[in-house]
Amino acid sequence: MDWSFFAGVVIAGLLAGVMYSLVAIGFVLIYKTSGVFNFAQGAMVLFAALTFVSLHEEGVPFWGAFAITLAAMIVLGILIERLVLRPLINQPPITLFMATLGLSYIIQGAAQMLWGTQVHQLDLGIADVPLPLNNILISQFDLFCAAVAGGVVAALSLLFRYTNLGLAFRAAAGDSFAALNTGLRLPFIWAAVWSVAGFIALVGGLLWGARTGVQFSLSLVVLKSLPVLVVGGFDSIAGAIVGGLLIGLTETLAEIYVGPLVGGGIDQWIAYVIALIFLLVKPNGLFGQRSVERV
């Protein structure tokens, strides 16, 4: 048993997992504060990546493109909330899911129309060079992604727990009236929530896009966050982190070790099967609190 290889695989899996956590956290944030399932996350990530890449290709410097895209994301988020999510607020979550699916289709179509169908390369300036660490080879790029994602995750957790804004977010989830007691106005809170979601989508879009090229399978990444949420619990940030790591790790391990025996491709479905097992054994996920009624 080649332990250094194994360690390399484990680390690669965890690094991928951090990315999943990032996307899942955006989802949990919105859900915790507004009770809305934001499946538009996928569309938002795609939009963010595409906007950024096009600006960048036009020669706009990195931070300029970042700022403009962030602004666009905030506007997009607010539009989505107003036009799609809010009118459907009393519908069952599956209706919201389908509505945001429709949204993804619109964004994908519009993007293809404006920017063409080829894959756009996104160069963040980090070379994809393996970094030897104690005999273990780690991709420098993966490490960078994980560091950024991890940083954002950590920052968000702190924001949520320890700031006034975070307090307002949590209060808004339970009781809009109580949220007002924190001294922040409700529309501001919503705008802040969607801005954070937009920021996460942007970071996620950039990292994923740099990894795999900006293409339309990016929306599939977000679909993968569903198993993360099932494993971690829909309303827990800790759950999103742990769930993401778990899924990333298991996927990579399964693909590397079991994959060759069955022709590969296990990572296409293993996350969902894990989610399935969790549904049977621990339907609330590892950290979730909402009760899930059983027959």
Binding site: L83, V84, P87, L88, Q91, P92, P93, I94, T95, F97, M98, A99, L101, G102, L103, S104, Y105, I106, I107, Q108, G109, A110, Q112, M113, T117, L220, L223, L226, P227, V230, V262, G263, G264, G265, I266, Q268, W269, Y272, V273, A275, L276, L279, L280, P283, V292, E293, R294, V295
Partner: protein, 344 residues
């Protein structure tokens, strides 16, 4: 507000119209429009039984169609001499069984979780058929031509015959669906969808009813897959049953109308006709620059917009819109004029 729908009458009318279509001498009509329309309608009907009536949403319809297609192929390949219709029925039963296996975890919990287990089914099933050549009779190329088929010595080799066979199967199954939805079982589906707790307290056997919806839905979608593979594309290939296809069937159900037998047909008609109408309109307005790529893109955008509009404004879809306009007849797909002259 009147609540009764005159579905049997509409059904009869639809059948007459469909039979009348058989008189039109156009292979293109059968192969490119009517047969896929029937296959998609059947799949949408199956999904509708689960989603629209019992309120459980499946995101893996395409995978179940794949199971139906491959089951038919394997039954016919590994059991020489098996009659075609038995193979189709067998494929339906196999799909129903698999649907139950994947659906069971989700059914025991509240609605949204079925979405996850069917997603698992979608990716897993596609992977299995891609990676294990046994299902394709040992062929590992990923694409197999559907072998020629016959019923009782009559070769089903022409577009017309393929259309008639589809029509026969779809008509019988739709008739059964009408019976189902108008029975106490169908009412139980709606009761569970609208208020599961009240239904349970009244004595509805919730789990059993959900399983029935799951199994019937699987059966229908499996056969739809078999029709799609054998009578439309005439290929057995896993790649054709991807997530996008699942979403499209879901869209058919939403646009056509949830909890409505005719909704499946209306939605399917819309979906089949839309790309055709778009390429016409596009060519007419923009001329030669409007290529098939643009058709795909605009179709995507239009679908997305329509989904959101329908979900917001008319969750009962086209079916309800038509009721409201006072038109009780089941609409057959409106054909863009001139299509009968077109051969590609």
């Amino acid at each position: 507000m009147k609540f009764i729908r005159s579905e049997p009458a509409a059904f009869g009318l639809f059948l007459l119209l469909a039979l009348a279509m058989a008189l039109i001498p156009s292979d293109y009509l059968f192969d490119a429009v009517l047969t896929p329309f029937l296959a998609v309608s059947l799949a949408a009907l199956g999904l509708n039984i689960l989603a629209g009536y019992a309120g459980q949403v499946s995101l893996g319809s395409a995978a179940f169609m794949a199971i139906g297609a491959f089951s038919t192929y394997d039954l016919l390949y590994y059991i020489p001499g098996l009659p075609l219709l038995i193979a189709f029925a067998g494929a339906g039963l196999i799909t129903a069984a698999v649907a139950l296996v994947f659906g069971l975890p989700g059914l025991r919990l509240k609605g949204f979780y079925l979405a996850i287990s069917t997603l698992a089914a979608q990716f897993f099933v596609q992977w299995v058929f891609t990676n294990f050549p046994w299902f394709s009779g040992g062929d590992s190329s990923g694409v197999v031509n559907a072998p020629p088929i016959a019923i009782g010595g009559i070769l089903i080799g022409s577009p017309l015959r393929r259309y008639l066979l589809s029509l026969l199967i779809v008509a019988v199954l739709s008739g059964f669906a009408l019976l189902l939805t108008r029975s106490r079982v169908g009412q139980s589906f709606l009761a569970i969808r609208d208020n599961e707790l009240a239904a349970r307290v009244l004595g509805v056997n919730v789990l059993k009813t959900k399983l029935i919806a799951c199994a019937v839905s699987g059966f229908y979608i499996g056969i739809a897959g078999a029709l799609w593979a054998y009578l439309y594309v005439r290929l057995i290939e896993p790649a054709g049953y991807d997530l996008n296809f699942s979403f499209e069937i879901l869209f058919v159900v939403i646009i056509g109308g949830l909890a409505s037998v005719r909704g499946a047909f209306l939605g399917a008609a819309f979906m089949v006709v839309l790309p055709l109408a778009l390429s016409r309109a596009g060519a007419a307005i923009f001329g030669d620059t409007f290529d098939s790529g643009l058709v795909d893109i605009s179709e995507q955008i239009i679908l997305g917009v329509l989904i959101i509009l329908f979900l917001r404004l008319e969750p009962q879809g086209l079916s309800a819109l038509i009721s409201r306009l006072g038109l009780k007849k089941k609409q057959s797909h409106p054909l863009p004029s001139g299509v009968s002259h077109e051969f590609n």
